[in-house]
């Protein structure tokens, strides 16, 4: 038995296709990104080694920091919106008829591509014909905003489709966690005279804290990598007001052909994402596993 199951050739045959693909497509490019960041390069011509110049420029680049700020704002919005999702899941999980059906309805936007979502919401935000402003006009708002063309509000406007896109995802996760809480705990609290609010806050929330922490990490890290929707909806505009780190990097590399500088930004994006991941994991580290 052991001889068969530890045959080196067989192990290699089974592990190598996956390992090679991940190595070539994910890990080698990562190293190359850091390396290209040291080059002056337009993507096609000869590379010229310029040391840390790209990285130094990036650190002094106001546009880069603006885009980083926008990414962090999105991360904050996303984290705050978890509270709404959590509240909805609490209601959904409290023995409501049709909960399964509603949960599936909530999930539908999550299935659509960011491009389709972006195009749909461009129409929703359309100042003259979009449903959003039609509804606002109906309720007597006289001058509804020009959502995507106003640099002061574009980032908040973009957050609405993000809230819409991920609602079902987080509600689904919280709902599953809440359903795992043994009923006896809730019943016991009820007998002791706890109100529904108290039960939600004092019993259910602490019990699913582990899952909540995971979703905080997911929301923050996901926001730092956010790209498709913004790229299609506004292209980072107007005037850079909705540029995020990934879209800025993409623009540098594939629109202005500054591959060296783009790589430096790409590498910084990676570093920032990893640092933030480690920090939140530390902050939200489980002190003790929940025992039912």
């Amino acid at each position: 038995m052991n001889k068969v199951m530890s045959n080196k050739w067989m192990i290699a045959i089974y592990i190598l296709p996956a390992l090679l693909l991940v190595g070539i497509l994910i890990f080698i490019p990562l190293i190359l990104t850091a390396y290209y960041g040291l080059m002056d390069w337009n993507g096609i011509g000869a590379m010229e080694f310029i040391g840390l110049e790209n990285y130094i420029n990036a650190i002094q680049d106001k546009n880069f920091w603006d885009s980083a700020l926008h990414s962090f704002l999105l991360a904050i919005f996303s984290t705050l919106s978890l509270a709404i999702y959590l509240a909805v899941s609490m209601i959904l999980a409290s023995k409501i008829k049709g909960a399964d059906f509603l949960r599936k309805i909530y999930l539908i936007p999550m299935l659509l591509s960011s491009v389709a979502i972006a195009q749909l919401w461009i129409k929703v935000f359309n100042p003259t014909n979009g449903i959003l402003n039609r509804i606002l006009l109906f309720f007597g708002v006289e001058k509804p905003p020009i959502w995507l063309a106003n640099p002061d509000i574009v980032l908040y406007a973009i957050f609405i489709p993000i809230l819409w896109q991920y609602a079902g995802f987080y509600i689904l996760i919280y709902y599953a966690a809440l359903k795992n809480i043994p009923n006896s705990l809730i019943e016991a609290a009820k007998i002791d005279g706890a109100s529904p609010i108290q039960i939600a806050y004092k019993i259910k929330l602490p019990l699913i804290m582990g899952v909540v922490k995971v979703t905080i990490v997911l929301a923050i890290v996901g926001s730092l990598k956010y790209f498709d929707l913004i790229y299609v909806m506004t292209g980072g505009g107007p005037n850079g007001a909705s540029e995020v780190m990934a879209s800025y990097m993409y623009k540098l590399a594939f629109s202005t052909n500054d591959f060296g500088y783009g790589s430096a930004i790409g590498f910084l994006l990676l570093i920032i994402t990893l640092i933030v991941t480690v920090i939140i994991r530390r902050l939200t580290a489980n002190d003790e596993e929940v025992q039912y």
Binding site: M1, M5, K8, M10, I11, I13, Y14, I15, P17, A18, L19, L21, V22, L25, I26, F27, P29, L30, L32, T33, Y36, G43, V88, I91, I96, L102, R103, Y106, L107, I108, M110, L111, L112, S113, V115, A116, Q119, L120, K123, N129, I131, W164, L172, I173, A176, V211, V214, V221, L224, K225, V232, A246, M249, Y250, F254, G262, S263, G266, T273, L274
Partner: protein, 273 residues
């Protein structure tokens, strides 16, 4: 709970449901209207005359090519991902060797890497081997980038398989390949279907790789292709609506039939992360 309480709870849930579903219903409605009706009529009125010709127009405009590309690229990448992920997970969880935990760790690190940090070198690598503007670059990329998450979903299932299966197979003189393809792989069917659904949603909707690696219209997939279409029909809202509906229909249909698998897949791929 009293009656008023329930009414309030349902009201909250209803508001969220409306928020989630209203834009899609509106999209479907205007995909069947002419511009005049869209611009003048009530946004939620049913179309006065159902303009199915909007769909005919975009279909004849060539959306079929994009659709076909999306289908074959999605399917081929799913087959590769499922096969390679199953093989690797089998080797890591069932076979005995020293570095299996380390190799597993490598795959799991792959989960944390933002694709944007590696897309520039990927582009130049594909350029050097002549895979730019070749749909196989997309297939390979989807396969590689979906491997870590797919293996993560598979892991739990593989760990729970009883050892006796392999023992019995080995005693009967079964080779590793026979054991994997004839015994183990068929046993993982329930989790494989979850994996297929999750990979389908990812691949069907993917945008950045296609947008970067593919330049010819004939190789573009639906997500990137609809961008062209929408540019082309700038002011024809009916046609834009029809284009979008066509792009999201396959996923919606899959969801209607396999919603439990989708729910399972999304929650297992998320929480374990």
């Amino acid at each position: 709970m009293n009656r008023l309480g329930y009414i309030i709870l349902y009201l909250c849930l209803g508001v969220v449901a409306v928020f989630q579903i209203l834009p899609i219903i509106w999209l479907f409605l205007f995909s069947l209207k002419g511009n005049r009706e869209i611009f003048a009529g009530s946004p939620f009125a049913l179309p006065k005359e159902w303009k199915w010709e909007n769909y005919l127009k975009v279909w004849e405009g060539g959306i079929g090519t994009y659709f076909f590309n999306s289908v074959w690229i999605t399917v081929v990448a799913i087959v590769f991902t499922s096969l390679f992920a199953s093989m690797a997970t089998f080797a890591i969880t069932r076979m005995q060797w020293k570095f299996n935990k380390f190799v597993l760790g490598l795959f799991m690190v792959g989960l944390m890497i933002p694709i944007h940090s590696s897309i520039i070198p990927l582009f130049s690598m594909f350029l050097n081997v002549g895979l730019i503007d070749n749909p196989w670059s997309i297939v390979i990329t989807y396969t590689g980038y979906n491997l870590p998450i797919t293996m993560m979903i598979l892991l739990g299932f593989y760990y729970t398989l009883p050892r006796e299966i392999e023992e019995a197979a080995v005693i009967d003189g079964c080779s590793i390949h026979r054991m994997f393809f004839r015994i183990i792989l068929p046993m993982t069917t329930p989790v494989l279907s979850t994996i297929v659904i999750i990979n389908m949603i990812y691949n069907w909707n993917e945008f950045v790789f296609v947008n970067t690696f593919i330049s010819s219209d004939k190789y573009k997939t639906l997500t990137v292709g609809i961008q062209n279409f929408i540019g082309q029909y700038m002011t024809d809202w009916g046609a834009i609506g029809a284009t979008l509906v066509i792009s999201l229909l396959p996923i919606l249909i899959a969801f209607i039939f396999f919603s439990n698998k989708v729910v399972e897949g999304i929650s297992s791929s998320a929480v374990k992360g």
